[in-house]
């Protein structure tokens, strides 16, 4: 009890620290210089309608690469731990009839939706991460419906590796082709503003990210389900 | 403070010869006194002469080894050395042969040469008692030397010199100039130390002469013993002379040789007698007791002497 009161006190004090920011806060009325640059010059410079995507994939592309890397590392850790602790699988209760039927119905649709989301990342809200997460949710549905079905990592890991590898290579291509152009999307023509094949490299990168995130999250889910990686899909 | 000349060798030899005779006579007298105090008739006055001659003349001798052999040589060298480093009589060239070699520090350290040699010689004889005696002797020496040293420091400050000759000279011109009267505290400390150095009762557990005699000399016989005995005649005299020089005005060279010798005799005799006097009056201390004794009273007196001298001079 005393401990909880103490913890409460500490949390209140932490709250006070954070609170000290609040009095000085006021919603902005104008954008900071750099953001203004993005909003005003971004569409012309990069050809992406979704400025957030432009920021994510190009202006702050290094962050995104790092982000992908974090997911990659997380899935590698999951893989490592699963690899190190191969224990026999307990049988789990199969999903219900409704779930299984629903899964069979929804699985391709969800996949398709996921792909749509990351391909259109530069135009609409959405992008590689979102799309990848949607794809992974399809896999989650699979796992829930058929917890005892063996799903291997083979294909997933090939997709993951190839997409990641290509992403990095495309980023590096910028260094070859332009000055200081690591992750520059303009090594491909910007195309017509607002169309699917526009904004240079952005849709390509987002596709790769989507594939990579989707396969990574999927393999994490599969691994957490306790499957061994040895079986093939 | 002259340099070396060859006649000094002769003088030194004469000094030693003179002291041996004087020492032997003194031994006779002291022996007599001891006996009389104990209501015995005692030895003949010249008995020490006979003893020493007899020992020198003994035919058979055994030796335990090199160090054993050299022990008495060291011992006698030590004794004779102090004798000729110390001015026996002020300004008498005969009795000042090698005083130019050093001051009171030299003399007080040279004492240990003989002690060490004899201890080592006795040690090689292999008898445990000799080592036991040495340890006792050393322990006791360590204790009483402190107060002696304090006394010497005190008078060194007083006279502003550590040259024995200069100290004697400073005490000339009347009895009241003696250190005994000008610096009685230092004298007291030194005379207590003197008791320890003479190895008489109450500080004679080192040799324990009344029971089983122990100590290096016990291990020796024949001419080895003779040499030690010879040393024993001069060594106490040399020591006594040192005390006389430092505290009792020394012996000046008077116009009359006889007077000079009489003064010499009286002074050394009475200083010597002081240890005898105490010796016959007090029972014996154990070694630890005597150490405690020396680090108590004599030490305290010595400290007072030094502090007083430091303030006064």
């Amino acid at each position: 009890m005393v401990k909880k009161v103490f913890i409460l006190l500490m949390i209140i004090l932490t709250g006070l620290i954070l609170w000290s920011f609040v009095p000085g806060y006021e919603s902005r009325t104008a954008l900071p210089e750099v953001s203004a640059h993005y909003v005003e010059k971004g569409p012309e410079e990069l050809g992406a309608a979704n400025i957030v995507t432009a920021v994510v994939v190009t202006y702050r592309g290094l962050d995104t690469l790092g982000e992908v890397t974090i997911l990659f590392a997380a899935s590698a850790v999951v893989g490592l731990l699963i690899h190190l602790n191969k224990n026999e699988n307990k049988r789990r209760r199969e999903g219900s009839e409704i779930l299984r039927t629903g899964t069979a119905l929804l699985f391709p649709l969800i996949l398709l939706f996921g792909i749509y989301v990351f391909i259109n990342g530069h135009l609409t809200p959405g992008g590689g991460f979102q799309g990848g997460a949607i794809i992974a949710s399809a896999v989650v549905l699979q796992v829930l419906a058929y917890p005892n079905r063996k799903i291997g990592h083979g294909l997933l890991s090939v997709i993951e590796s190839l997409s990641g590898f290509t992403y990095v290579l495309l980023g590096a291509a910028g260094v070859f082709l332009t000055v200081n152009g690591f992750l520059d999307n303009r090594i491909l023509p910007l195309g017509e503003y607002g169309s699917l094949l526009s904004a240079g490299l952005i849709p390509v990168i987002y596709t790769l990210v989507g594939l990579k995130v989707g396969s990574e999250l999927s393999s994490v889910v599969i691994s957490l389900n306790g499957e061994s990686e040895e079986e093939q899909l | 403070m002259d340099g070396f000349s060859y006649n000094k060798i002769l003088f030194a030899a004469l000094t030693i010869f003179f002291t041996i005779n004087y020492g032997l006579i003194l031994q006779g007298i002291i022996g007599k006194i001891y006996a009389r105090v104990g209501r015995r008739i005692g030895i003949r006055l010249f008995q020490p002469y006979f003893n020493i001659i007899r020992q020198w003349a003994t035919r058979s001798a055994i030796s335990h080894g090199v160090m054993y052999y050299l022990g008495p040589v060291f011992r006698f060298t030590g004794g004779a050395g102090i004798l000729i480093f110390t001015p026996l009589i002020l300004d008498a060239p005969l009795f000042n042969s090698f005083t130019y070699a050093g001051d009171v520090v030299l003399v007080s350290y040279f004492i240990f040469l003989g002690t060490l040699g004899m201890a080592l010689g006795g040690g090689e004889a292999g008898h445990p008692y000799s080592a036991i005696a040495v340890t006792r002797g050393l322990a006791q020496t360590a204790a009483f030397e402190i107060s002696l040293m304090l006394a010497i420091y005190s008078i060194a400050v007083q006279y502003n010199t550590i040259s024995i000759t200069e100290i004697i000279r400073a005490q000339q011109g009347g009895v009241l100039n003696w250190t005994l009267f000008t610096n009685p505290i230092a004298t007291a400390a030194a005379m207590l130390a003197f008791l320890g150095s003479m190895m008489r009762s109450p500080f004679d557990v080192v040799l324990a002469p009344q029971e089983i005699p122990v100590g290096p000399p016990t291990e020796y016989q024949s001419q080895f013993l003779a040499m030690l005995m010879t040393n024993r005649t001069i060594f106490p005299v040399a020591k006594t002379v040192l005390y006389v020089n430092l505290f009792f005005g020394g012996v000046a060279l008077y116009d009359s040789y006889l007077l000079t010798f009489v003064v010499f005799f009286l002074k050394t005799f009475f200083v010597y007698l002081w240890s005898v006097f105490v010796g016959v009056s007090f029972p014996r201390f154990r070694v630890d007791q005597s150490i405690r004794f020396f680090i108590k009273w004599p030490l305290l007196i010595g400290v007072i002497a030094v502090v007083a001298a430091n303030i006064r001079y």
Binding site: V77, L80, S157 | T77, Y109
Partner: protein, 1046 residues
């Protein structure tokens, strides 16, 4: 030049591609990883070389084809390049070490490794705040994965704690970043830094604080770092190595970047937290006996020191700050990685099991190098860094920090040296094995070499001139490399080197330095002679000896504090290794090292204060220091520092064990020669600074009492020893007490006596230790009561002991008397008769132990089991014979010693100087003619000997045992030799002198520190949640303290 962005590209591309090789033989992905790391190393190396050599300049690296602040940018400058090289190299080496793990972990470990390294590279290079956050997260996830490489319970627990602590930290940091973005409108650190102003600092305080505290917590500050310790302990050692070297260095740099960004807003807080961490971790480590956790403690402490150093440099505007901070960081990284790799090779966690390292003796060398480097001993970069830091602090009034840094360093020495000693001395199980592979061994030796090379480089980077001759250390290095040769050849080499160098060195030494130069050079040659009698390689002996002699020579040659202190430390280090070689010397070597280091730190403080007061680090500045404020304190610090080496009362407890347990020919080196270094230093101080006092207390007066009490008690203790070498060791303490007394007299005669005592003590103590050492060797014991009667078996040894004890006791006519006689005169001149009397009493007590020494060993009864004992070997006798020759020379012609030495001292004071008339020395009080005494003695001795021989030539020679004992023949020699508890009556009377005041005092200090450590480390409960709570408390408290409320 290759674009540094490729560092990231290569690592990531390889990591991603590895997924394709899941089914391939493990060699392929492993090879790819190595190749990638190697290329990265080469890239960063070429940048480092280019920038440091000046052919390249620091460059911005832009991304996305835009310039900042529009896009994220990286920066490659000199610091970045060096750190990148460090990180990538360490990673490459770690990959080599991890070869064995590849099979079990498929490609995952390699992926994580590459991602990890990529993250570190990013952390180091990025200039964007949020990007930094991303890279930190990458590092944190990858390392959390690597922690669980074996996936056992400890690793999982530690990893989980690590993750949740990291999540909390990064949460705070993220809030800080976004707050800062709000107030500054930018995420680019350079942009933020450029607009930083007091007003901005006030409005953006919360954000900046949260970034600061987040970065600080990444550095695992005390006491919110339990999770960090667990990580270090649980991980595979190679991973810990990478974390300790890579992560901490990179994170530290990131911390610096954010700190510069906020315009040094939190520098004071950083100083407090850094100092607290440094001290706290070092205290707590005292109770630690698991090696990897110990290394964890040490790592965190070192980073705390680096943070502290950074903060102090900023607070006090200390010059050369970049060098200071980065020398500390680099040394730590290299040494710590080395030690973790070594832990991997050894494979034992308890520091008591490290003895197995001796299966490959050569591993001791990198171990020693790493430990020395961590402690900031020369010639490693950390030494120069600490020196610059301390000097800078002193010059600007940061005394409190100096004390904090030095006491922390001393604490660190306690556990590191204890560990090293354990490893070097503890026995081991023959069945244990080392992980001895190319991949594990190469990194260890690589880092060792780099550390040594960096030491050389950093000497030139320090802002103080070097004042030290590197040739000396070069010789040590050569001997280290040649250590595979037979001992005799190495000995010849070393003696040749010392002889060749020493000639010029002795000739060049001036003034009183020449006296010590003679002692050191001649002593080196003489004490090395016995080495010819030792068969085999004697690994480690010659480099250590060379190190010690190099230090001694350097002391004389030093012209400034830097050179002096450096030599001092080198000498200490060399002698420590020498002492450690003795059979049971483990605890003694440790206490030797600790006392020496403590003393050295006092010296450093004293030098620093002198520098602060006079603005000069030339040794000559001491003269000027005599009249500045606090000169008394300087004098006291230096005096106590040097007295530690001289083993004065209270600081002496290391000596008896260290000198007694050392090897036969090491004891004379450390006792006869090394102690003189303390005399030299103190004499230098006394001559330069003159009489000093603190308030009304005259320091020389205090010293004089310490000196005589040292002499008295040490001599008494010597008399009570049963162990012959301990007896000699105590005797050395006593003799150094005389030397100290001489110095404290602050007069011509006093100093003369100190010099003379130093010289003669060198001669007879070397001889005695050699003689007694050879007896101990021949009889197999050091206990005197087990010996006896050896005079006939070892006559020469007996003779040499005899001469030496006469000399030592100061009995005329031998050379020892001169010192005594001068002291008497000096005492009278100064009128310190009470001290003089105590010193004199000590001199007489010396007779007790000297007699005991010679009697119990050589005289009395010969034991049955010693009847076949032989005389000492030739190479032990030869040096004794040479020294005896010297004793006799000085005894016959005392003037030949006293006159030149006296003339030297007349440069400083002529008052009371001796006047010479022929062979007679005349002082103000007395006179002494040594030549006459000698001749009188010889003449008398010869005459009496002749008398005896002529008269007693018929003497019959018999054995010792041929005696009568209480009217019976004794049964056995054992019962007839009196030597046990030799001075029982003295003990009965003066036993109180034996009461171990000093030992008890130091034991209490030690117990207290350990108890504190044992109590305080309970905050590391092991519960991850508690750790989180501690972190929250830490954040709250830090906020309150830095802002002064809410």
């Amino acid at each position: 030049m290759v674009d540094p962005i490729y560092l990231i590209v290569i690592a990531l591309a390889t990591a991603f591609a590895l997924g394709l090789f899941r089914k391939a033989p493990s060699l392929l992905p492993y090879g790819l990883t190595l190749a990638a790391l190697a290329v990265m190393t080469v890239i960063s190396g070429s940048w480092a070389y280019g920038i440091l050599s000046g052919s390249l300049e620091g460059t911005d690296i832009f991304t996305a084809g835009f310039t900042p602040p529009v896009s994220i940018n990286l920066y490659m400058g000199s610091l970045e390049a060096v750190l990148l090289l460090l990180v990538n190299l360490t990673a490459l080496m770690t990959a080599l070490v991890l070869r064995k793990e590849v099979k079990d972990t498929s490609v995952y470990m390699l992926m994580l490794l590459l991602v990890f390294v990529m993250g570190l590279n990013g952390v180091i290079m990025t200039r964007d705040l949020f990007n930094l956050f991303v890279f930190i997260e990458i590092v944190s996830i990858a390392s959390a994965g690597l922690i669980a490489l074996r996936s056992n319970l400890e690793q999982l627990g530690a990893g989980f704690k690590f993750v949740i602590a990291g999540a909390l930290t990064s949460g705070f940091m993220l809030i800080g970043i976004i707050f800062t973005y709000y107030t500054t409108g930018s995420l680019n650190m350079d942009v933020i830094a450029s607009q930083m102003s007091p007003a901005l600092a006030a409005t953006g305080y919360t954000g900046l604080f949260l970034i600061f505290i987040g970065m600080i917590m990444e550095l695992k500050p005390f006491p919110v770092n339990g999770w960090g310790l667990d990580t270090y302990e649980a991980s595979v050692p190679a991973v810990s190595a990478l974390v300790a070297a890579g992560t901490t260095s990179a994170m530290f740099y990131a911390f610096l970047k954010t700190s510069y960004m906020s315009g040094g807003l939190f520098v004071q807080a950083a100083a407090v937290i850094g100092g607290m961490t440094f001290i706290g971790m070092n205290v707590l480590a005292l109770q630690q006996d698991k090696s990897r956790r110990l290394l964890g403690y040490s790592s965190i402490a070192q980073i705390g020191l680096a943070v502290l150093a950074y903060a102090l440099v900023a607070l006090y505007r200390i010059e050369n700050g970049e060098f200071i901070v980065f020398a500390l960081i680099l040394t730590h990284a290299l040494a710590k990685a080395l030690l973790f790799w070594l832990a991997g090779i050894v494979g034992k966690d308890s520091i008591h099991d490290w003895g197995v390292i001796k299966k490959k003796m050569i591993l001791i060398a990198p171990f020693a190098v790493a430990v020395s480097a961590l402690l900031g001993l020369p010639p490693f970069p950390s030494f120069f860094a600490k020196w610059d830091l301390v000097m800078g602090l002193a010059a600007r009034g940061g005394m409190v920090w100096i004390i904090l840094i030095l006491s922390g360093s001393l604490l660190e020495a306690v556990y590191l040296m204890r560990w090293f000693g354990n490893a070097f001395k503890d026995s081991f199980n023959e069945e244990d094995t080392l992980d001895w592979r190319f991949g594990t061994v190469l990194p260890v030796f690589f880092n060792m070499t780099v550390l040594l090379a960096l030491g050389y480089l950093s000497a030139s980077q320090s802002s103080f001139s070097m004042g030290f001759n590197w040739i000396l250390l070069g010789a040590v290095a050569v001997l280290m490399v040649l250590d595979f040769l037979p001992g005799i050849i190495k000995n010849l080499l070393l003696m040749g080197a010392i002889g060749y160098y020493g000639y010029g060195f002795v000739m060049a030494a001036e003034s009183y330095r020449s006296v010590f130069a003679w002692i050191f050079a001649l002593g080196a040659l003489i004490t090395l002679l016995p080495g010819f009698g030792v068969k085999g390689k004697r690994m480690g002996f010659y480099p250590s000896a060379a190190l010690m002699f190099a230090g001694l020579i350097g002391l004389i040659e030093a012209v400034d504090f830097m050179g002096f202190f450096l030599s001092w430390e080198i000498m200490t280090l060399g002698s420590y290794f020498l002492i450690l070689r003795g059979k049971d010397s483990k605890p003694h070597a440790l206490s030797y090292m600790l006392f020496s280091l403590g003393g050295a730190y006092l010296l450093m403080t004293g030098f620093a204060m002198t520098y602060a007061g006079t603005g000069s680090i030339a040794l000559g500045a001491l003269v000027k220091a005599a009249i500045i404020p606090h000169s008394g304190i300087i004098f006291a610090l230096l005096a106590v520092g040097f007295m530690t080496k001289m083993a004065s009362a209270g600081l002496h407890i290391w000596l008896p064990g260290a000198h007694a347990e050392a090897e036969t020919d090491v004891s004379p080196m450390v006792s006869g020669i090394l102690l003189k270094a303390g005399v030299f230093g103190l004499l230098m101080t006394a001559i330069s600074m003159g009489e000093q006092s603190i308030g009304p207390v005259s320091l020389p007066y205090v010293l004089s009492w310490v000196a005589v009490i040292t002499a008295l008690v040490a001599n008494y203790m010597a008399a009570m020893q049963e162990d012959a070498k301990r007896l000699l060791a105590y005797s050395s303490i006593g003799q150094m007490g005389y030397a100290l007394f001489g110095i404290s007299l602050m007069s011509h005669l006093g100093w003369l006596s100190a010099l003379v005592i130093s010289i003669v003590h060198f001669i007879y103590k070397v001889t005695l230790f050699l003689a007694i050492g050879s007896v101990a060797k021949r009889t197999g014991t050091r206990n005197m009561y087990q010996m006896g009667g050896l005079i006939t078996k070892m006559p020469f040894t007996f003779f040499s002991v005899l001469i030496c004890i006469i000399a030592l006791s100061g009995i005329p006519p031998l050379a020892g008397f001169s010192g005594k006689w001068i002291v008497y005169n000096a005492v009278l001149e100064k009128r310190w008769m009470l001290q003089g009397a105590v010193a004199g009493a000590a001199g007489i007590i010396a007779f007790l132990y000297l007699f005991r020494l010679i009697f119990a060993i050589f005289l009395g009864q010969l034991k049955d089991n010693h009847r076949k004992v032989k005389e000492a070997p030739f190479f032990l006798i030869l040096p004794q014979a040479l020294l005896l020759g010297l004793v006799m020379f000085f005894s016959f012609l005392p003037g030949s010693l006293l006159r030149p030495v006296g003339e030297i001292l007349e440069e400083f004071t002529t008052a009371g100087a001796l006047e010479w008339q022929g062979n007679m020395a005349i002082s103000d009080y007395g006179y002494w003619n040594g030549v006459a005494v000698m001749w009188v003695f010889m003449a008398l001795f010869a005459v009496f000997f002749l008398i005896l021989t002529i008269n007693g030539r018929r003497a019959q020679w018999i054995k010792q045992f041929n005696i009568v004992f209480a009217a019976e023949r004794p049964a056995r020699p054992e019962t007839t030799h009196f030597s046990y508890n030799f001075f029982a009556p003295v003990r009965k009377a003066l036993g109180f002198l034996e009461y171990p005041f000093t030992t008890n005092f130091w034991n209490r200090v030690s117990d207290f520190l350990h108890a504190v450590a044992g109590f305080c480390r309970r905050i590391y409960t092991g519960n991850g949640q508690t750790y989180l709570l501690q972190m929250v408390i830490f954040v709250v408290l830090s906020y309150m303290l830095t802002k002064g409320g809410f």
